[in-house]
C-alpha cells in the first residue's frame, strides 16, 4: 500500500508545474505541453495495459479520433473548442466500446495483434472521408496563448492520475488486477471480465482522445499520418512500462524522465540522439524490467544488488 509521502510530493509537483508559464520561458512551456500530453497518454494506456495486462497497440486510434473529432467539429461546424473535445471523446469512447467487445475476448499476444491492425484501418477510413479533409488534413484556427494549452494539458493529466489513483484503491481496480493475475480464476469468483476490460478500455480512450483534441488545436493542423501515428502508441507503452505499469505515479514519472532525456539528447547530440535514446531503453529493460517504481522499492531493500538480481531472475 502506498504511504502518504508520494501523494504529498505529487501535489507539490503539480503546484510547481502549474506555475511554469509564469516563471518559465516559452521553450519550457512548449516542452511542457508535449511532455504533459505524452504523460497523459502513458497514464491512460496504464488503465488497461498496466492493470489488466492487456497490451494495446490500438490506443493511437483513440488519439486520432480525438484529434479528428475536435478538428471536424471546430472547422466544419464552427463549434467551440470545448464542444469539440467532447465530440472527439464521445466518438473515441464509442469506438472503444464497439471494438473492445469483440477483441477483448482475445487474450495475450492475440489481443495485441488484433489491436495492431486497428490503426491502419482507421487511418485508411479517415483519409477517404471528405468531411475529415480526406488525405489533405484539416487546418484549425490559430490561438495565441500557449499557457492555456499548458494548463489544460496539466489539468487533464491530474484528472487522469486521480482516476488511476481511485482505480488502484477501489474494488473495480482489484477486479482488473485479478484479471491480470488469472482471468479464469477471476471469472469463477464472479468478476464479469469482459465488462471490466471494456470499461477500462473506454476510460483509457476518454483521456487519450482529449489529449489528442488539445494537441490538434495547439498544433493547428491534423492529417491522417500524424493523427494515427503508430510510433506514438509505442511511446505510450515504453513510457508506461519504463515508469512502472499498474502503479499510480510510475507512468507519469517514466514519461517525464524519458521526455527530458529525449529533449536533452535532441538538443545536445542531435545526430545520434535516437541511438542513445534506444540505448537508454535497452538498459532500462535489462536492469529494471518492472519499472522505476519497483526500482525505488527494490533499491531500498537491497541496494545496488537489485539491478543484478533482475538480470539473474530473468536469465539474461
Amino acid at each position: 500500500m502506498m504511504g502518504r509521502w508520494p501523494l504529498v510530493l505529487a501535489v507539490l509537483v503539480a503546484i510547481v508545474l502549474a506555475g511554469v508559464p509564469w516563471f518559465g520561458n516559452d521553450v519550457a512551456v512548449q516542452f511542457g505541453i508535449n511532455a504533459l500530453l505524452l504523460a497523459t497518454l502513458a497514464q491512460s494506456w496504464n488503465i488497461l495495459g498496466g492493470f489488466t495486462g492487456y497490451v494495446s497497440f490500438g490506443n493511437s486510434v483513440f488519439y486520432g479520433l480525438g484529434t479528428y473529432g475536435t478538428a471536424v467539429a471546430m472547422t466544419h461546424f464552427n463549434l467551440p473548442f470545448g464542444v469539440g473535445l467532447v465530440v472527439g471523446a464521445v466518438v473515441a469512447m464509442l469506438c472503444a466500446a464497439l471494438v473492445g467487445i469483440p477483441i477483448l475476448r482475445l487474450r495475450g499476444p492475440y489481443f495485441a495483434i488484433a489491436t495492431l491492425g486497428l490503426n491502419g484501418a482507421m487511418a485508411a477510413i479517415v483519409s477517404n472521408l471528405p468531411i475529415a479533409g480526406s488525405n489533405i488534413g484539416l487546418v484549425l484556427p490559430l490561438m495565441r496563448g500557449d499557457a492555456i494549452f499548458y494548463e489544460l494539458a496539466l489539468a487533464l493529466l491530474v484528472v487522469c492520475t486521480l482516476t488511476v489513483l481511485w482505480i488502484s484503491s477501489s474494488r473495480y481496480g482489484m477486479a482488473l488486477v485479478a484479471i491480470r493475475e488469472d482471468e479464469d480464476a477471476a471469472g469463477s469468483m464472479g468478476v464479469n471480465a469482459t465488462l471490466y476490460k471494456v470499461t477500462a478500455l473506454v476510460l483509457s480512450a476518454l483521456f487519450t482522445a482529449i489529449a489528442g483534441g488539445i494537441h490538434a488545436y495547439w498544433s493547428t493542423f491534423v492529417d491522417p499520418a500524424s493523427a494515427f501515428d503508430t510510433t506514438l502508441n509505442v511511446r505510450m507503452v515504453i513510457m508506461c512500462v519504463f515508469g512502472g505499469p499498474g502503479t499510480v505515479f510510475g507512468p507519469v514519472v517514466g514519461s517525464f524522465i524519458l521526455s527530458a532525456v529525449y529533449e536533452v539528447l535532441a538538443s545536445e547530440i542531435s545526430t545520434a540522439a535516437v541511438l542513445f535514446f534506444g540505448l537508454v531503453i535497452v538498459l532500462a529493460v535489462v536492469f529494471t524490467p518492472k519499472g522505476l517504481t519497483d526500482l525505488m522499492a527494490g533499491a531500498r531493500r537491497s541496494g545496488w544488488r537489485y539491478l543484478f538480481r533482475n538480470i539473474r531472475e530473468n536469465r539474461l
Partner: protein, 402 residues
C-alpha cells in the same frame, strides 16, 4: 603547462568567435530542418542551400541595411523529422537564440505547423519546402513560400495545349490519393473545365500502387487525346511500362508531375522514356540571372563543387529564401520584423530560382512549371509561358517507334 596554454588560447578563440557571432553587425537566420530521420534525404538540400547562399552573400561583403553593413549568419537545428520537435525548435530559435528571421523546414506538414509559430511571434518566415495551398489559406501575414501551388502544376501544360496543333480535346486524369496529388488533381480539373476540355477518365489510385491495368483499360476504351498523370516516381515508371505492354496510345500527349526530369527515370526506361512529357519548377539555366551567383548555372556549379551532388529545385528554392531576406532587408532599411515583412510582400527580383521572385497576395510565389520532354534520351525544356523548344508532338504510338 603547455597544454593549458593551448586550452586557454582555444577557449579565447572560441569566446571571440562566439562574440563575433553575437556582434551587432550580424543578422541571424534560424531554421529547423530534417537533418536526420525519414526526411533527411531531402532536408539536406535546404541545409546546404542555406549555408552556401549565406556564405556567398558574405563573400560579396554582406548586405547594407540603413547605411550599415551586416553579415548574415545561420542557426540551424535538426528536428529529426519530428513535427512536434520542429515546432519547439522554432520557439527556441525565436525566444532563446534570438534569431532575427526564419527560414523554413522541408515538407508541407512541417511548414503548416511551424508557420503558426512565425505568425504567433510575428517574425517573418520564408520557406521553400512546403507547397500545400493550405499553408496560405489561413490569412497569415508573416509566412512566404517559394514552392508553387500544387493546384497549379498543370497550369502551364494546359495553357500550352491551347497553342498546339492538333489541340487535345479529351483528357484522362490519373492521380494518387495522397494530399499533394489530390490537390494537383483538384486544380487540374478546374483548369481543364475552364479550357473547355472533356475529362473522359478521372481515376484515383492508392499511393504505392503498382498495377495500373484496369485504369489503362478504361483509358484505352475512352480513346483519349491526352493523359495527365500525378503521383510518385516509381508509380510513374510502372505506369509507362504497362502503357507499353497493354499498347495504350493517347492520340497526342502524356505527361507526368514527377520522374521525367530525373536521370534515374531515363536510365530505368531507356528508349521507352522518349516522348514522355513532364514538368519541373526549376532548371539550372543561364537565363535566370542572379546577383550573387551570376546565374542559375553558376549556382548549380558552386553547389556541386562544394557538396558533391547536383542541386534540384528544393535547393534552388532554399537559396531563393535566403536571397529574399537579403533583398528585402536592403529595401526595408531596418531590421524591424514588420518592416521586413512589408518589404518581402512587395519584392520582385531576378534570382537563380525564378525570373520574377515575388509573392502573391497570400504569400505564395507565382511560378509557372516548365514543361519538359525527353527527346532521344535528353531532357528538353519545352514551355514555360512561351515555347522554349519544339515539342515532338503528337506522340507516336508504341508500335510506330524506331
Amino acid at each position: 603547462m603547455k597544454n593549458s596554454i593551448v586550452a586557454l588560447a582555444a577557449a579565447a578563440a572560441f569566446a571571440s568567435s562566439v562574440g563575433l557571432a553575437r556582434a551587432d553587425n550580424v543578422i541571424t537566420l534560424g531554421a529547423s530542418v530534417q537533418l536526420t530521420g525519414s526526411s533527411a534525404n531531402t532536408g539536406r538540400y535546404y541545409r546546404d542551400a542555406y549555408g552556401l547562399t549565406i556564405a556567398k552573400i558574405n563573400e560579396a561583403g554582406g548586405i547594407k541595411v540603413g547605411g550599415k553593413t551586416y553579415k548574415l549568419a545561420l542557426k540551424i537545428l535538426d528536428n529529426q523529422s519530428d513535427v512536434n520537435l520542429s515546432v519547439r525548435q522554432y520557439v527556441q530559435l525565436i525566444t532563446s537564440d534570438k534569431v532575427n528571421f526564419l527560414l523554413g523546414p522541408f515538407a508541407s506538414n512541417f511548414a503548416l505547423s511551424d508557420s503558426s509559430i512565425a505568425e504567433k511571434y510575428q517574425i517573418p518566415m520564408v520557406q521553400g519546402g512546403g507547397a500545400s495551398t493550405q499553408i496560405y489559406t489561413r490569412h497569415y501575414k508573416y509566412i512566404f513560400g517559394t514552392l508553387p501551388a500544387a493546384d497549379d502544376y498543370y497550369a502551364s501544360t494546359i495553357e500550352m495545349f491551347g497553342k498546339l496543333q492538333p489541340k487535345p480535346e479529351t483528357v484522362a486524369l490519373v492521380a494518387a490519393d495522397d494530399s499533394f496529388d489530390v490537390s494537383v488533381a483538384k486544380g487540374t480539373r478546374e483548369r481543364l473545365k475552364a479550357a473547355h476540355m472533356k475529362i473522359a477518365v478521372d481515376a484515383t489510385y492508392r499511393e504505392g500502387n503498382s498495377d495500373f491495368s484496369s485504369i489503362l483499360t478504361q483509358i484505352k476504351a475512352a480513346n483519349v487525346d491526352a493523359i495527365l498523370w500525378s503521383g510518385h516516381e516509381t508509380e510513374a515508371l510502372n505506369f509507362i511500362r504497362q502503357m507499353k505492354s497493354l499498347n495504350v496510345n493517347p492520340k497526342d500527349y502524356y505527361g507526368f508531375t514527377v520522374g521525367v526530369p530525373t536521370e534515374d527515370f531515363r536510365k530505368a526506361l531507356g528508349k521507352d522514356a522518349n516522348y514522355a512529357f513532364g514538368m519541373t519548377s526549376w532548371l539550372p539555366s543561364a537565363t535566370l540571372k542572379d546577383r550573387w551567383f551570376g546565374d542559375a548555372l553558376g549556382f548549380a556549379k558552386a553547389y556541386k563543387a562544394k557538396f558533391g551532388y547536383d542541386p534540384d529545385y528544393h535547393a534552388a528554392s532554399g537559396a531563393a529564401d535566403v536571397e529574399t531576406f537579403a533583398v528585402a532587408l536592403e529595401k526595408a532599411g531596418s531590421l524591424n520584423p514588420k518592416a521586413v515583412r512589408d518589404a518581402i510582400a512587395k519584392i520582385n527580383f531576378s534570382s537563380l530560382y525564378a525570373l520574377h521572385t515575388k509573392y502573391g497576395e497570400n504569400g505564395q510565389i507565382i511560378l509557372p512549371q516548365i514543361v519538359v520532354q525527353i527527346q532521344d534520351g535528353k531532357l528538353v525544356p519545352i514551355y514555360s509561358d512561351q515555347f522554349l523548344n519544339k515539342p515532338q508532338y503528337p506522340v507516336p504510338p508504341w508500335n510506330k517507334r524506331g
